[in-house]
Symmetry: C2
Subunit: 327 residues, 2 copies
């Protein structure tokens, strides 16, 4: 099967599972807030990865559906809370949960989504020690997501951040759900521990590649395709790998000019585009592009032990998709 | 052993476990926010109950320490998020987490505390299906807590609430952690399902009694002993069982006067005291006192199947403490 075009039916199953998981909620108001982002669609990369990892180790993909969908729920819960923290009014063209229903309901909806994610794993056919492992992966992921978000916020206030610090931050904030998806899918599929670990590493590396590519897209895509204001990262003073690299290269007046725009909330489009051009000129966007692709290549090397065939090929295509996507 | 005076050493163990559970956090800023309420102390009723239920069914109390402490962590996480929602600046004499570190960090700290609670259960000696049951209890509890908080908030905007609606709300918002503590402790102690269910019911009923008594205390205690402004519930327009009962009795001018103060954020102390006097005069505070005590008596009847002895007596004393406490 070719990724992603041959997985459309699977995405429909994931969506159905995701929406059905909220039926247990008795409070209609809370349920509406919980369903807001999930109902808006999405590529469902994390649940897809869980099912694909499960298949690649010899399991039935459907068996990993509850765990994968739980990860999607966790992902959506973090979006709800992150939007409150960032005070964002819109997300990919729709109003954010707190903009629509207020901060209290957004906080509560996130908490309930988090709780539901655990119940979804436990309601599945996976039992005993294996269920315990999945729950452990989920809990650890959320704890690290919180640490990553905290790092991300504190980086905005800091003058300098090293490339290593940036990578640690995105490993927690982004990669953790991909490593959890691949590892968890392998566990559901009955893989032995060394195979689980290889898939964990594959997921971690594609997650890093995904985020670095996201940083590239923020600068190189336009609003039409990406659905959110471009150059947002510069405006918000995000210390992405691109900015970190540029600050190690820019000197004198150029450096001063770049720093004057970085984190300037009311920067004009002209100023932002000028800053972007400086990042291009100094080669930092190309650098990030290269680093993203290196992570994907490394990730694929961790699939070496898997049986050759369409399921393994699909995981390779999935990895390539992480840095090929336009949105 | 007499409750609570003979359980001081156990509370120390719970506190040590609780604080140690945060050592895994790498981010110092997030860790400080997470530790803020736990470090401020507390009676630790939920973890105590878990250990006492475990003993009462023949287990070692220490075995229920991780689960009980996880419940305390969940309780503290909900306090952090509730304070953000209610925009409270102080809690029992200390600054709230968001007042001290801002809303974003308070939201994140709560999320991380929630995640840690699951890890704490999974790190314990309880394994396999029993661990799965404990995690399920925890996840269900948080989901219901969110629904209860949502009900509580929407009640504030409503003109009328029935006694049944109020009881459903406090069952979710308060009782759920007591039923979880008693049931979970029984599971850890190796109790069979019927015994688990009896203890669940015992916990549910004392939790209801606890909250109704809390409503009484809000009116009858003073700031010195309770550590929070009294008559807060009237000022905030809370539809407690006391208010629900009064509204079914008050008529004419008295009703109009009472309603004019209920939910009046800038009510004077004189107005609040007058409203309180009306609640006393119409017998609604006595009514709540009686209902709280009835719940405690009912709760104790669910202990009938347990072996006679000091551990069962302790659970009875625990139940009595729910409505005897002054704070």
């Amino acid at each position: 099967m070719a990724f992603p075009e041959d997985y459309k039916e699977r995405v429909k199953r994931i969506n159905a599972e995701l929406m059905a998981s909220m039926d247990v909620m008795e409070d209609k108001e809370l349920k509406a807030a919980m369903a807001h982002y999930p109902a808006a669609g999405g590529k469902r990369l994390r649940p897809l990865l869980a099912t694909m990892a499960c298949e690649a180790v010899g399991g039935r993909w459907e068996a990993a559906l509850p765990f994968g969908t739980a990860l999607e729920m966790v992902h959506n819960f973090t979006l709800v809370h992150d939007d409150v923290m960032d005070e964002d009014e819109t997300r990919r063209g729709i109003r954010t949960v707190h903009a629509q229903w207020g901060v209290p309901r957004a906080i509560l909806a996130g908490d309930a989504m988090f709780a539901r994610a655990f119940e979804m794993v436990l309601d599945s056919d996976v039992e005993g020690d294996r269920a315990v492992e999945l729950v452990d992966i989920l809990a650890r992921a959320v704890r690290l997501l919180a640490e990553g978000q905290q790092m991300d916020m504190s980086f905005e206030d800091r003058k300098t951040v090293t490339a290593d610090e940036y990578l640690t931050m995105i490993e927690r904030k982004t990669a953790v759900l991909y490593s959890a998806a691949a590892q968890g899918g392998a566990i559901v599929g009955g893989a032995k521990e060394p195979v689980q670990e290889e898939l964990f590493e594959y997921g971690r590396l594609i997650g890093l590649g995904f985020q670095i590519w996201d940083d590239v897209l923020d600068l190189r895509s336009d609003q039409k395709t990406f659905g959110k204001p471009v150059l947002n990262d510069i405006r918000n003073g995000k210390k992405t790998i691109i900015v970190v690299d540029a600050l190690s290269k820019l000197e004198g007046a150029a450096r001063t000019e770049f720093l004057s725009v970085l984190g300037k909330k009311d920067a004009t489009e002209k100023e932002l585009l000028r800053a972007k051009d400086m990042l291009e000129a100094v080669g930092s966007i190309d650098h990030a592009d290269r680093v993203a692709n290196e992570h994907i290549a490394q990730a694929k090397s961790h699939l070496a032990g898997l049986k050759e065939g369409p399921h393994k090929d699909a995981l390779k295509a999935f990895a390539d998709h992480m840095v090929g996507r336009k949105t």
